[in-house]
């Protein structure tokens, strides 16, 4: 693809809710993050679900937190990226999502996954981690059926409150080709965060588009990217080094020798765009997925050691400098302008 201005895209942020502060403080900071992001014009904010994690990934109940965020915002979309399907009851999940969607005026985007980051939790929930893909497929089928208003028992009982449009606001996060094809056939969005942009995510995006029924320009594909602006590359890398080291076991599991990988290489494999604004704009413009098929850019600006406030400083740069340089214009709350 050439350097021509890319088509319009939607801008979101994602946080995994890291931090060492007490949970009341942390969660209130995340709610305030949604308020601040809405003021910056962000189109969406996403939170990840993690179970039993005391330091990194501290939010087990994203829909509860998003209900608080919904109460404090008017426009910004509220995303879960992602909920661990195999640890949920499909009807309870559908109920919670439907209530939140009604409370928030239809602002929910519900990402779902098999729980690659939560494998340690399955046994405690009494679920077989070896079967997490089958479990997820089963829960997803029943979740979709509930949202579509299908009968849930022999008496014809259906989901209440009804949420007939929420089924079209489900997103899959998967690195499996059959998974992305199924997501496309069934009309779900595609969250691409895990795996190298060119070597892993691009083939997934192509497989998804090939299976998408309808205008490919409408196929929702979100590129989830670490975005860490700083005055120069060295400063950005120095700040990220200790956090990236936490991923060595994952690199090893992926067949790499972590010791032989440079920090620069690790950051590239994780799609972490960092350094001066101009450099980030350029690396995003040449990002294999973002520059092509993506309709959404979701900026992850909170590393494991980042405070919520530090991440917000980065989000400010994303909204005011980086995204505009790529052709994005901030959304505005009409009521707030008047």
């Amino acid at each position: 693809m050439t350097e021509s201005p890319r088509r319009p895209f939607t801008l979101g942020f994602l946080t995994h809710v890291h931090g060492d502060v007490p949970s009341p403080h942390l969660y209130q900071d995340v709610v305030e993050l949604f308020v601040a992001a809405e003021e910056l014009g962000f189109d969406s904010g996403w939170v990840a679900q993690h179970h039993f994690q005391p330091r990194f990934g501290r939010l087990p109940s994203p829909l509860v937190l998003l209900a608080a965020a919904a109460s404090r915002t008017r426009r910004i979309r509220l995303g879960v990226g992602v909920v661990v399907l195999g640890l949920e009851d499909p009807i309870r999940l559908a109920e919670d999502a439907a209530v939140l969607d009604a409370l928030s005026g239809g602002r929910l985007d519900l990402g779902v996954g098999t729980g690659g980051a939560n494998v340690s939790a399955f046994g405690t929930f009494g679920r077989d981690v070896a079967k997490r893909r089958e479990l997820a497929a089963d829960v997803l089928d029943r979740l979709r059926g509930a949202l579509a208003g299908q009968p849930l028992d022999e008496f014809g009982t259906t989901l209440q409150p009804p949420a007939p449009t929420l089924g079209s606001r489900l997103w899959d996060s998967t690195t499996q080709l059959d998974g992305v094809r199924r997501a496309a056939r069934e009309g779900r969005g595609l969250l691409l965060g895990v795996g190298h942009a060119r070597s892993v995510q691009l083939p997934l995006a192509e497989a998804y588009l090939a299976e998408w029924r309808g205008d490919p320009a409408d196929a929702p594909i979100a590129a989830v990217r670490g975005v860490f602006p700083d005055r120069d590359l060295e400063s950005a890398r120095a700040e990220l080094a200790s956090d990236i080291a936490l991923y060595d076991p994952l690199f090893a599991a992926d067949g790499h020798d972590p010791a032989s990988l440079t920090l620069e290489r690790k950051l590239d494999l994780m799609n972490v765009r960092h350094g001066p604004v101009d450099h980030i704009v350029q690396t995003l413009a040449s990002d294999a997925v973002f520059s092509g098929a993506a309709t959404h850019l979701i900026a992850a600006c909170h590393a494991e050691s980042s405070t919520i406030a530090r991440g917000l400083e980065r989000l400010d740069v994303v909204a005011t400098e980086i995204a505009p340089a790529l052709g994005w214009t901030p959304a505005h709350d009409l009521a707030a302008v008047s």
Binding site: H51, R58, P60, V64, A67, L87, R92, E95
Partner: protein, 349 residues
């Protein structure tokens, strides 16, 4: 046992979240408005009932999601459920939801739990236990929930629930119609929720309260937390008893059908006045309601929380708030209650 009917109580309200034929977004927006109004009126707490798969009456399946929104719009109102249907919840997910809510709202939650008598119709859809086994199932789940809140290692693993909410384990409540289970709640240190509409105050509710208090005094050591009883009653103030009864008739017609479906067919033949008495409704002028509450054999003296229900099947949010005003400004003060704070203006002002 001598009952001190001047014992102070906290004043809450309970809503089942009705709103047949209305959009869910409107129903929930109105519900949040009621919580805000109650805080302004000086109420100590607002409690919601969880119902599953209901399209007309009982429209809230997700209390923690709704209460998270309420928490952002209130500062000190206690937020509770009466009840959460424990057999339809995974106890670890429930612990997570309430711990996150507690972190967001502050330590002002009251988690009331029941075995699901009013939600038996939903058990099949959830693939839950056979309704007959739901009490044993409830006990198993409550054990896991309690351990999770307390931050104990879960099962065979060394994992603990995050975030922990150990103080919330002291704010659990059980609803039951079995004196033996009321005793078990006392041994566990949990509160007792009373007031199921078809339970007679004298012959059913009072023995439950007495069993609970008796067991508490036997099993709990001095210095441990005090027993907690929360009692629900429908309260419908109006110009007089006749006017209240006429106002309630359309709602009662719906209410009777609901109970008849659950086997209480004898209720269909009662007169309006007899039916209101049968389901323990306090109604009429302020003086009528005050007198009727004072004559209730399982209320004052037992209640640490008094939870009036002011919403009926076809009432509007404005009517509900008007009834809360009368309760906070006239009825509850006549019963010895005084607002703890935030009082001094009508919610409609």
């Amino acid at each position: 046992m001598t009952l001190d009917t001047t014992k102070p109580f906290r004043l809450g309200f309970l809503t089942h979240v009705h709103g047949a034929g209305r959009a869910p977004a409107e129903v929930y927006r109105d519900l949040i408005t009621v919580f805000q109004a109650a805080e302004d009126l000086g109420f100590d707490g607002g409690w919601v009932a969880q119902h599953h798969l209901r399209s007309d009456y009982g429209r809230l399946p997700s209390p923690p999601v709704l209460l998270a929104a309420v928490a952002e719009r209130t500062t000190h109102l206690q937020l509770g459920t009466a009840v959460t249907v424990l057999p339809l919840e995974h106890p670890l997910r429930l612990a997570e939801d309430w711990s996150v809510l507690e972190a967001l709202a502050g330590p002002r939650l009251q988690l009331g739990l029941g075995t699901g008598g009013a939600n038996i119709d939903a058990f099949a859809a959830f693939g839950a236990v056979a309704p007959a086994d739901r009490h044993a199932d409830f006990d198993d789940r409550l054990g896991v929930l309690r351990d999770a809140l307390l931050g104990k290692p879960l099962g065979a693993s060394s994992l603990v629930a995050q975030p922990a909410a150990p103080d919330l384990a002291d704010r659990l409540w059980q609803s039951t119609s079995d004196p033996g289970r009321a005793r078990a709640a006392a041994r566990a240190g949990d509160g007792l929720l009373l007031g199921t509409a078809v339970h007679d105050p004298l012959t059913e509710q009072k023995p439950l309260a007495d069993a609970y208090l008796d067991e508490w005094s036997r099993s709990q050591t001095p210095g441990s937390p005090r027993p907690r009883i929360a009692i629900t009653r429908a309260v419908f103030p109006a110009r007089n008893r006749h006017a209240a009864a006429r106002d309630l008739e359309p709602a009662l017609a719906i209410h009777r059908q609901g109970f008849a479906k659950h086997g209480y067919t004898e209720l269909l033949d009662l007169s309006t006045e007899d039916y209101l008495a049968r389901i323990n409704v306090h109604y009429g002028s302020v003086d009528d309601v005050v007198g009727s509450i004072q004559a209730d054999p399982a209320l004052l003296g037992y209640a640490d929380w008094f939870l009036p229900v002011v919403q009926h099947e076809v009432s509007s949010v404005a009517e509900d708030i008007r009834r809360l005003e009368i309760i906070a400004n006239e009825i509850a003060p006549a019963l010895g209650w005084s607002a703890s704070g935030g009082r001094g203006r009508g919610a409609a002002a």
